[in-house]
Amino acid sequence: MTQPLWAQPIESLAPRLKTGTLSPVALTQACLDRIAQVDGKLQSFIHVSATALDQARTAEREIKAGNWRGPLHGIPVGVKDNYLTRDMPTTAGTVAPDISFPLRDSAAAARLRRAGAVLIGKTRTHEFAWGNVTPPVHNPWDLSRVPSGSSGGSGAALAAGLCTAALGSDTGGSIRMPASVTNTVGLKATFGRVSRDGVVPHSWSLDHAGPLTRTVADAAHMLNVLAGYDAADPACQAQPTPDYTKALRKPIKGLRLGVCRNHFFERNQPDVERAVEQAISDLAAQGASVHEFKVPLLEYGLGAIFAIELASSTAYHDVSLRAGRTPHYQPDVRSLVEIGRFVTGPDYLKAEQYRAVLMEEFRKAFDNVDVILGPTTPVTAWKIGEWIVDVGGKQESVLAASWRFTYPYNLTGLPAISVPCGFDRAGLPIGLQIAARPFDEMTLLRVAHAYERTHEWKDRLPNI
């Protein structure tokens, strides 16, 4: 059965948009109708573009005139509300007084516009992209549960068919965690691969910009547009930008799959562990070999990322802190911004020293493997308002558990992707995380696609 327009991926829409058998206006209207129909329940958009249909009409005219710009031409994309946009307000999720952001395009928004995408609206972020939830957004797979965060608006909107792709940002897992709990694909490319110019900073050396998509092929299409050097982002690197879609459909026979048995497999919900072990077996069955290893140093990672993230975020918010604006922040964000003051200079630099050693440990691991596989999150979507979760029989704070497997790749800057790999017995999505060497997104996408094309998880839709 053909899926409705709003549920289809870029890879199936783009050829029809190119040939004119599908109108960008019809596609955009389908998403706008879907927003009108279900976003009252989801709350995933904070702003819907007043010009979305105009953008779609422009795309239609250009395509009809023979000026097809590429696979994103006429595709409705949701933009996380911490990316600056010239025609839509940016709030970064805050209502605190005397904080405003300019009306100009971030590098990512500008690249998407040049590719002909329709920027359909701004998706909700948790305030200043902090945290692992995105209030007031609900998860379309179970409205009583969180879509995780901080790109939870993008995850929820995409999963429910309110846009065809979305932008997220990822400081400790904020693209991959929402992707994992909403049955979508989330790609955090290598630090320096995608410009963060015009993305409201959270923690300068941890922040990544990137896409959430329905499929791995769609992630490759988005990365083709987003990747590239930008002098306006001091971390951006002038590395070659291949055509990432060429990574797709390549066999993985002979590739070496790494499985880091400590940290990533020490405590998971049983259904998560089962699904991920099955995914590893399924990939091995395609002719890849599995190599297990350990990185004992990961035991110190949580302290390191907290030291860096808290100190950086507090430095960014220092003026607001001194001006007495933080009491207007959401309570959890206020606490995190304020307690960053307790992190000392030596703590911060010790964390950066640790980071150098951790990067070296992963480099050694990549001497023997081509990718590293594991769960994206140890838990599936938790209930809204729940701060303690059961993880493998142990009661654990959401703050500690949720990002345990994603933050190592922010500390190391390695590319990582979350791909749907099943559902738990409550019908909630589970994500498989794949990481690769720096700037080796090709291998990352190759393995992710090899898994995705032999499973049907991506075709399941939430009943909303």
Binding site: E338, K350, E352, Q353, Y354
Partner: protein, 82 residues
Amino acid sequence: MRGISPPFLHVPATKSTSMSIPPDPYRDILGIDFTPERLEENLAAFDDIRREIEKLRRLDLTDVHPAIVFEPTAPYRKGGGK
């Protein structure tokens, strides 16, 4: 080394009386100016994180250069990929 000490290293004579009042470690040293109640709440919220940072402090990383590179040519980079 005479003549190069920056002014902030010289303690003005008028400050000498302040020596009788020890500086508040939170307010005067760390620049934290929360109410006592808010300070207590934040210290409680920081407790689990503090334990993790304490673990990190126990590592001997003396010979490791931090993962930070000072790059003096950054302001001179031109062009871009926007």
